[in-house]
């Protein structure tokens, strides 16, 4: 582990080398110290110039006493020497050393350069060391530069994940103590402790951590439990009965890792509602407010205007209205419908956050209901929406985009991200939809977990592997397919059109066009014969329907029969 002292010094010195690479390597730092020791010896009069390689000790014996070695000697390793213990002195020397070297050299880290540097050092050994040190000290007492240098060092040195490893907690670091406090007051306590420490109460704690997602607890960083107790003494909202628990070293970094799940809710994302009338409904995020932990989503309204009108009337009479028995079906909002109800009014509002005009439904004692283009815009807390594994069905998307003819754009967007992938089977024709090999066609050779091995159609010889997400099943018009997942499972038909991820299929059973995600279909030779009879009824039977009307069975499917009612108008004459 790198010593903190020397780290400081190096950090300070690096300011001379601004913009150049920082010395990371521990080995290199030790090498630097070696050179410093050499230089000191040079100054002391022993002019031994240079040794080859990294971290070699200065030479003694036959070389000592020789004023100048021939330059070629640099490249020859002599016997390794034993180190003297001059660690403390090196700290101050380092500044001078790099100080001079930096003026003449471009790169700090190259070993070859180092040999050149040694030459230069030898030449300048007549300088007054004390003078040098004084200058350096002066430089470091300028306050604003200190801040900047240090900050720069901090970031420059640790921008890497590998370097982050060097910051792992050690036994000499203060420990983290888990402290229980009142829910909702975590931030407040952290800030109050800061204030206490600032007002000079001599607190021996190094930091206080209040995490958003961890309710009821805070972490206090201190050496001993007594320090923690002293710091929290007398603070309200802290449970003094709870003995602070130390966090094991292995778990310390986990405390400070932020789970990014909640930050990932972006505008335009699809979510599902968890509660209320809209439970399970698909919604699209239009605005995210991280501070209040709320999102504004766009839904297809489920309004019962009758009920709302009654509610406001009833409230005026101080009565309670019965709850609705059934959740209203989703339907787009129309201003005209509101006019029928005297209690309800609509007015235009401008929403600052979203920068758009909205229609607001108002009435006495109504919650805020804001609409645009027929959609309801609802602001809910992040907790009441579900963001993971949302698979909007085609039907839902169509509903949503009914106003815009842009269904396929959304689907293409969705299909490779949140949609569950159908299984790829050996022999499936696939096409690459993401990455550099986009639009490459091929056949599935085999599947291993989420990696699919594909033999490309073109002349590429090998079998390529792809992630499931990068591929999509590929069908050509005219192929027979069968749907294996989704709402249309079991249907089969012939592909008539391929539109990105969506296949338009002519169904065998009812000769209609159905839309299906390519991933939900497999190539098959099965042909679903339309059922000729089911449950005692045959095709073309005249039947009486529930509401006493007549109809003829024209079609039978696995799930039910379809009878045409309006035939009776035509055929009454025939009957």
């Amino acid at each position: 582990m790198v010593r903190r002292d020397s780290e400081n010094v190096y950090d300070g010195v690096e300011e001379e080398v601004q913009g150049r690479r920082v010395i990371h390597d521990v080995e290199e730092k030790e090498a630097e110290e070696e050179y410093v020791r050499q230089r000191k010896r040079q100054r002391a009069g022993k002019r031994t110039v240079g040794v080859g390689g990294n971290g070699e000790d200065e030479t003694e014996g036959s070389d000592r006493g020789r004023r100048r070695k021939p330059p070629v000697m640099k490249f020859i390793d002599f016997e390794a020497e034993v180190d003297d213990d001059e660690e403390e002195e090196d700290e101050g020397e380092d500044d001078d050393f790099i100080d001079e070297g930096a003026d003449q050299l471009v790169m700090v880290n190259e070993p070859e350069q180092r040999m050149g540097r040694v030459d230069i050092i030898a030449e300048e050994c007549e300088d007054d060391i004390n003078e040098m040190e004084r200058r350096v000290m002066e430089r470091y007492t300028r306050p604003s530069r200190i801040i900047m240098e240090r900050q720069e060092m901090d970031h420059a040195g640790d921008a890497n994940e590998v370097e982050q490893q060097a910051l792992l907690p050690t036994l000499s670091d203060p420990k983290l103590w888990l402290v229980k406090c009142a829910i909702g007051h975590e931030r407040e306590i952290a800030i109050r402790l800061m204030q206490r420490s600032v007002h000079g109460e001599g607190l021996c704690i190094s930091s206080v951590i209040a995490l958003d997602h961890l309710k009821n607890y805070i972490y206090v960083e201190a050496e001993t439990i007594a320090n923690v107790k002293e710091a929290l003494d007398g603070l309200r909202n802290v449970y003094s009965s709870f003995v602070p628990q130390v966090v094991p070293i292995e778990e310390m970094t986990a405390v400070l890792s932020v789970e990014n799940k909640t930050m990932d809710i972006t505008k335009g994302a699809w979510v599902r509602m968890k509660r209320g009338d809209y439970k399970g409904d698909l919604a699209q995020v239009v605005d995210v407010d991280d501070v209040k932990r709320e999102v504004t989503v766009k839904l297809i309204p489920r309004l019962d205007l009758q009920h709302l009108a009654e509610k406001s009337a009833v409230k005026a009479r101080n009565e309670q209205l019965k709850k609705r028995a059934v959740v209203p079906p989703p339907r787009f909002f129309k201003k005209e419908e509101v006019r029928k109800y005297k209690n309800l009014r609509v007015c235009k509002k401008w929403n600052r956050n979203l920068g758009e005009g909205f229609v607001q439904l108002e009435g006495p004692s109504l919650p805020q209901l804001v609409f645009k283009d027929g959609f309801l815009y609802k602001t809910v807390s992040m907790k009441s929406i579900n963001t993971n594994y949302i698979q909007p069905s085609f039907a839902e998307l169509e509903m949503f985009n009914g106003r815009r003819r842009d269904v396929c754009g959304d689907i293409a967007n969705l299909s490779t991200t949140s949609r569950k992938k159908g299984h790829f089977m050996k022999g499936d024709a696939v096409i690459v939809v993401r990455g550099d090999l986009k639009n490459l066609e091929g056949w599935v050779h085999n599947v291993e977990g989420s990696t699919v091995h594909v033999r490309p159609k073109t002349r590429l010889p090998e079998i390529l592997s792809f992630n499931e997400k990068e591929l999509c099943k590929f069908f050509k018009p005219g192929e027979q397919i069968k749907v294996v997942s989704g709402v249309l499972e079991g249907a089969s038909g012939t592909v008539v059109k391929v539109n990105g991820h969506v296949l338009t299929v002519l169904s065998d059973t009812n000769s209609e066009h159905i839309h299906v995600f390519a991933d939900y279909a497999v190539k098959s030779t099965e042909f679903t014969k339309p059922l000729a009879q089911m449950g005692g009824y045959e095709l073309y039977d005249l039947v009486q329907l529930i509401d006493k009307s007549f109809g003829v069975i024209i079609r039978m499917e696995v799930e039910g029969l379809e009878a045409r009612e309006d035939l009776k108008f035509l055929s009454l004459a025939r009957i």
């Binding site: 306050p143 900050q151 970031h155 640790d158 050690t170 800030i191 930050m263 991280d290």
Partner: protein
Amino acid sequence: MKGGRRGGGEYGRSNGRDDEGMMAQFSQIPTSFGHELRACLRCRLVKTYDQFRESGCENCPFLEMDKEHDNVANCTTPNFTGIISVTDPNKSWAARWLRIGRFIPGCYTLTVSEELPEEYQTVCADNNVQYVPPKRT
């Protein structure tokens, strides 16, 4: 109102800048815990909007938040996760891990939600100050 050290200053409004030009003792401590709190996008210091406007960001004086009020809105964000009060940055392991161990004592946040805008990143580069954008996992 001087000080902020022993016994001095108003509660929570102290700014301990020493007259000799030494490094400031600590940053202003937020006076409220609600929606006015903002985090500086560069150093992640947390203060209220008004505090930033009044005395800028102590770690990033080059962002000049006290001079230009727009800079406060552009360089700070109310979207941040968690608060860490660093009372002793030299000693604290947590501050070192979060790479705020070189900043002055104060309240910081663990992560911010957005990056510093382009033009301010160049200001940082001009002043020879490193800017590390927040990690995107």
